[in-house]
Structures are given as C-alpha cells and as structure tokens.
C-alpha cells in the first residue's frame, strides 16, 4: 500500500509578462508511489524538475507554478487526501508538519535570522497544537533535540551563530517534531562539506530507522543515494527515466542516462579518465521531442526523436523509459 501515489503529474511554470509568455514543462507526466518505511531517492541533474515535483507533492503550488493534470494522493491509512485539491487551511491544519514535513536546502536561509531557534519551535508547535505551558513545551523540545543528539544550547542561539551542519540538523529536528509519516528532504546536504554531510545524513537515517516513516530524499549526488536510499528514481528533463532499488540502479542501470551518471562518478583510488556527456542540458521551456535525452544520447535511434518512450517494468521494482528496453528486452 502506498502512502503517497503520484499519477501522470504535469506541473508547469507559466509566466506571462509584457507580452512574453513562457511555459516551463518542469514536471511532465510523472507517476510513482512512496511506500511506508523507506528512503526514496530522487536524482537527476540540475533543473530537471526535482524541486518542482516536491513543491507539488507537498502542496506548495503557487503561481506561476500550476499543476495541469494528474493526481497526488496522500493516504495515511485513516484518511485519503488529494494534495492538489485540498484547501490551504485544511492543508495547514491537518497535513503540514503533522503528516508531511519538509527539510529544505540552504539551511542558512530557512531559519528566521532574527529569531532564536527555540522561537521557531514555539511558532510551529503553537500553530499546530497550541502551547499551554511554556515550561512543559521547553522540556519537550529539549528532550526531542537531545534524542537527536543536539546540545540544548542551540535553542538559545540565533541561526547565524550555528555552523552550517548544525543549522541543517536543527532543520531536521524541526521537521521531526511531530513524527510525521512523510519527511521530504530537498538537497539537504548540498553545499555542506563531506564530514558535515555525513553527520546530517546519518541523523536522517537514524530517525527513519527509529520511526519507520517514509523519507523522500532529493539530491543530485549519486554517492549519497548509494549510501542512504532504499530505492532511487532518476529524472531527466521533467520526466522519470528509471526507477529501481538502489543496488539495482548502481549494479545494472538500463537507461543510457543512468548509465552515464554512474560511470562518470570519480572515486578515490581510481584515476581512469571519465568522460562527460556531450551537449548541453535541455531547455524545459522548449523540451526536445520524443525521448528528451535523445540529443545527448550516444545510442539515440530514429524513433527516439519522435516517440516518447513508455515506462516499462523490467523487474518487479525496476522501471525504465527507453526505446532500447521496450518490451522488457535488454
């Protein structure tokens, strides 16, 4: 049973100003399911629509972004809600933070610079549960962050007084305050150094292991997925090209883009020359026809130029969209 199912989602940015209108097909026909108790990784190069996908499934659709078709259904076993149609106030009251919470990139800027950390906790808790007793509340928060291995000092600090890794972990602590069933993390460790990244991801993983909730982890760093995710989905230019359990993705990738992604990763101890993809990333305002990867694909065929490849199941949990693997044949 899926906790979140996305079906044929299309979400575009449409901007119109001074006579120039532009539609960015940022998410264009995406379907997938999230299951309870898993870490689901989303990878893909910059601007392929990862953040947009997240905005839609977390109910943050604001102009110029608009969902044009498809559905996003959240089902926690007790209630089913359609994230595309739910009213903002209902969303705020029932879903946000209680069911689904969010860890954003750029921890530096997500915390209010003029408010102490404890105040941010207070704002969130107050808005959802109300605070009867400040002392009890503080004890609860302290207990929570201690459980996550953070010192209580951070509560009295201002964001700028904390190191980058610490801020990012505070963001995780905030996201797990109400033990939500789904935690969405969009590039939580980009721009952190490897040591800090490791600390942050470890914490996320520990929390998941403990609470058995679902984590949707977005990053373009394949090595991170290799170490953290259970399943990985690869996006290219607004579409899913491949989805499989982590091991499968790394051991037997099928899509040429996935293959390239994995083979180009440098490793300490290996010095063989790695090549980069030719061509430049697609423009989503005017995406290539057919398979969107075809202009850069070393194996492109005629059909790739004209027909959009369908998503096919290769194995039980391995899907891929490529004309080369049509009909389950390799």
């Amino acid at each position: 049973m899926a906790i979140l199912s996305v079906r044929d989602l299309r979400a575009y940015y449409r901007t119109e100003a001074y006579g120039i209108s532009r539609t960015v097909h940022a998410v264009d026909g995406v379907s997938f399911d999230l299951h309870p108790d898993e870490i689901y990784g989303v990878a893909g190069e910059s601007s392929c629509g990862k953040s947009t996908l997240i905005k839609v499934i977390s109910g943050n659709v604001k102009p110029p972004l608009k969902a044009y078709s498809g559905s996003v259904e959240y089902d926690n076993g007790l209630q089913k809600v359609d994230m595309l149609t739910i009213s903002p106030e209902e969303m705020r009251r029932n879903i946000r933070w209680k069911e689904i919470s969010y860890v954003m990139q750029g921890s530096m800027s997500v915390l209010n610079p003029v408010r102490k950390i404890i105040k941010t906790f207070e704002d969130i808790v107050e808005s959802h549960r109300g605070i009867q007793d400040k002392k009890v509340f503080r004890e609860q928060v302290e207990a929570h962050i201690n459980r996550l291995g953070l010192p209580t000092d951070v509560l009295n600090a201002y964001p700028h007084q904390l190191s980058g890794g610490m801020r990012q972990r505070v963001a995780i602590a905030l996201a797990t305050m109400f033990q939500p069933r789904l935690i969405i993390a969009d590039e939580p460790t980009t721009a952190l150094d490897v040591v800090v990244q490791r600390g942050v991801l470890q914490m996320l993983k520990e929390i998941q292991a403990e609470s058995k909730n679902t984590v949707l982890l977005v990053t373009h760093d394949m090595a991170v997925h290799a170490n953290v995710a259970d399943r990985v989905m690869i996006m290219y230019a607004g579409r899913i090209v491949e989805e499989a359990p982590t091991k499968t993705i790394f051991k037997s990738p099928l899509h040429p883009y996935t293959k390239h992604l994995i083979s180009s990763l440098p490793m300490i101890g290996v010095r063989t020359t790695k090549t980069s993809l030719r061509g430049s990333p697609p423009n989503l305002a005017n995406p290539p026809s057919g398979c969107r990867f075809h202009p850069r694909c070393p194996l492109a065929m005629e059909v790739c130029r004209t027909e959009i490849p369908e998503m096919v199941d290769v194995e039980s949990r391995h899907r891929v969209a490529c004309h080369l693997v049509k009909g389950g044949a390799l």
């Binding site: 890794g165 490897v194 470890q202 990763l265 440098p266 010095r271 430049s280």
Partner: protein, 344 residues
C-alpha cells in the same frame, strides 16, 4: 629556499579576523602559519581541500592579492605581493594569476552579456588592441574550453547552462595567458555530470597549456582524479600536505582520515565505514579558538599534549603532517603508526 625559483612562495602566513559581539569580540585565526610553494618550472594542479570554513577561500584571497596577511609573506615570482601598490603593478600581477569562482551563475553580472567580460579582459590586459583583435583572442580562448564565440555571443548568463558558464569563466581566465589559475570550489555548484567536464578541462590546461591550477575543493574524489599535490586544511591550518596518491590513499592525520572516510562511495555495498557515527561542532568559532590541535575535540587518538600547544609540522616522506602522533617519540612508542594506518 630560493624565493626566485618559485611561482608562488607562501611563507608562514596567518590571517586574523576580528569578529564577535557587543561585549568583547573574538579573534578568529582563519589562516594559521601556512607555508607552501608552487614551482615555476613544472605546471601542476595543487589541491587545497578541507571542510567548510577551514580557511580555503581566505587563503585563495591571499594568493590573489585581495587580502593581505596579518603576518607572513606571499611572494609571487620573487616579489612580495604586499609591495604591489600602483594599479599597473597590480594589473601585471593579476594578468598572471587569474581566478575562477565557485558559482557560475554569480560569476557574471546577470544584466550584462557574458562576452563583454571576455572582451574587457582581452583589451584591458593589452592582449588585443581593438575589438577585432579581441574577437580573435576571445574565440581562441573559447575554443580551448570547447566553445566558440559564435555560440556565446549576445548571450546573457541565464541563457547558458551552468557548465557552459563555468567553461566561459575559465576561458576568460585564460585570455591574459596566466601562469596560474586559482579555482575556488569551481565545481561545488554544478551537478555531477558537469563536474567531470570542468575538471577534465583543468587537466587539459595543465598538460597542454602548462598552466598551473590551484584547485580548492572539498570534493576529494575529483581532487584525487586530477591533482598532483594536495593540502588538507583544518580550521586555518594545513594539517597534511603531499602528493595526492599518498595523502588520499593513506591519510596520516586523523582529520584526513575522517575526511576520506566521509566521502560517500558510489557503491551501495560498502556502507559500514561511512555509517559509523560522527560528531559535529556546534559553532565554528569554538573550534577556531581552541588551544592546541583544532581537531583534539573530535580526534579518536587525542592525547593530553594535543590540547596544550599547536602540533609541529612533521615531514614524513614527501609529505608533512601536523600531528603529535607522528613526532619522533610517538612513532617510536607506537611502532610506526603510519604503517599501521596505511594497512587499514
């Protein structure tokens, strides 16, 4: 050490920043007693790696003459950088030392066409005398990075991909025919597939154009992939430096070891080392102001002496390590611990 013989000669430089609050600020030693050289003869890629806030950018600003050291000296081709006063002198210096910045989208003014910078560089440094000549120079530079003027002209930064801009940025740096390119985290903002494009370019520049590259990064995998030498920084200090294979394959300083171990391997199987729990500092300033070894707080091998005074720089083969574990006595007592580490 012959000062003349080297391109860059960094001698015991320290940079102290005054930061802190209403009631008594603190001194922050962003770069502490750092020395290294870059040879004039042989072009090489020299990596400076280390965690965030370890002083890498500060060091690069020193090398670019953008910041003067609180103590110590930086020599370029035998001349003390702090003695460059006139615009002409500075200009002839920056002609030879050119930067490439971290964020490709920030490198160029979003409201200007990118080629303007290329033409400016060509004309300002006297590489070309007029726009026509400049166009040839610019086109040549762009060819070196796999682009052409035709592709680039009349474009604003947002009309180009990150990889393209970063290559243009390198092309710009190449126009005055510099001896050194200082690249401060040139790939941290680009995604994995573009990363290789850039670092491959550095390799080509070194091999074909004989341009040295100071490559600042915390991405040890690419550092290993392209560089000749590496220096690992921790809180303002170079804790370990030497040939890249030696340092990264067999790190000696406990911090280098931690760093290496933290690099996530793109191998879903080998998770054990990475998963081992680590602790992080709460604030940066605390660690900076710690007396003795800055890593003492997190080091698994910490000794009393580590908390008392700065460890010395110890040469071990071709590399130097700043750690008490490798003093003469310690090595004798432990029976060559570096061999032990290397076995691991």
């Amino acid at each position: 050490m012959s000062v003349d013989g080297n391109l860059f000669d960094v001698q015991n430089v320290s940079v102290v920043f005054q930061i802190g609050g209403l009631l008594g600020g603190v001194k922050l030693v962003a770069v502490n007693d750092v020395s290294f050289t870059l040879s004039r003869e042989k072009a090489e890629i020299f990596t400076i790696a280390g965690e965030s806030g370890s002083g890498k950018t500060t060091l690069s600003r020193l090398l670019l003459g953008d910041l003067h050291p609180t103590s110590g000296k930086v020599f370029f081709e035998g001349r003390d950088l702090s003695e460059f006063r006139s615009r002409a002198e500075l200009k002839s210096f920056i002609k030879k030392v050119q930067p490439v910045f971290q964020n490709p989208f920030e490198t160029f003014n979003p409201l200007r066409r990118v080629e303007a910078y290329l033409f400016d560089t060509a004309i300002n440094f006297g590489v070309a005398n007029n726009v026509k000549e400049a166009a040839m120079v610019v086109d040549h530079a762009l060819q070196q990075v796999g682009l052409s003027l035709a592709e680039v002209s009349k474009r604003y930064p947002h009309e180009l991909s990150g990889g393209q801009i970063q290559r243009i940025s390198i092309a710009r740096a190449l126009i005055p025919r510099p001896r050194v390119i200082l690249a401060d985290e040139p790939v941290s903002m680009v995604d994995a597939s573009l990363r290789m494009e850039i670092v491959n370019l550095f390799r080509t520049l070194r091999d074909e154009e004989k341009v040295s590259v100071i490559y600042i990064t915390h991405d040890l995998a690419t550092a290993y992939y392209i560089s000749d030498r590496i220096a690992i920084m921790l809180r303002g200090n170079i804790v370990e430096a030497g040939p890249v294979e030696e340092v990264l394959e067999r790190p000696m300083h406990p911090y280098s070891q931690l760093l290496k171990e933290s690099v996530p391997e793109p191998e879903p199987e080998e998770k054990d080392a990475w998963v081992k729990h680590i602790s992080l500092g709460v604030t940066e300033v605390n660690e900076y102001n710690q007396v003795g070894c800055k890593f003492a707080g997190r080091c698994p091998h910490v000794m009393d002496v580590c908390r008392q005074a700065d460890p010395p720089n110890i040469s071990v083969g071709p590399r130097t390590v700043k750690c008490y574990l490798y003093t003469e006595q310690a090595r004798e007592a432990a029976g060559h611990p570096e061999m032990e580490e290397a076995r691991k």
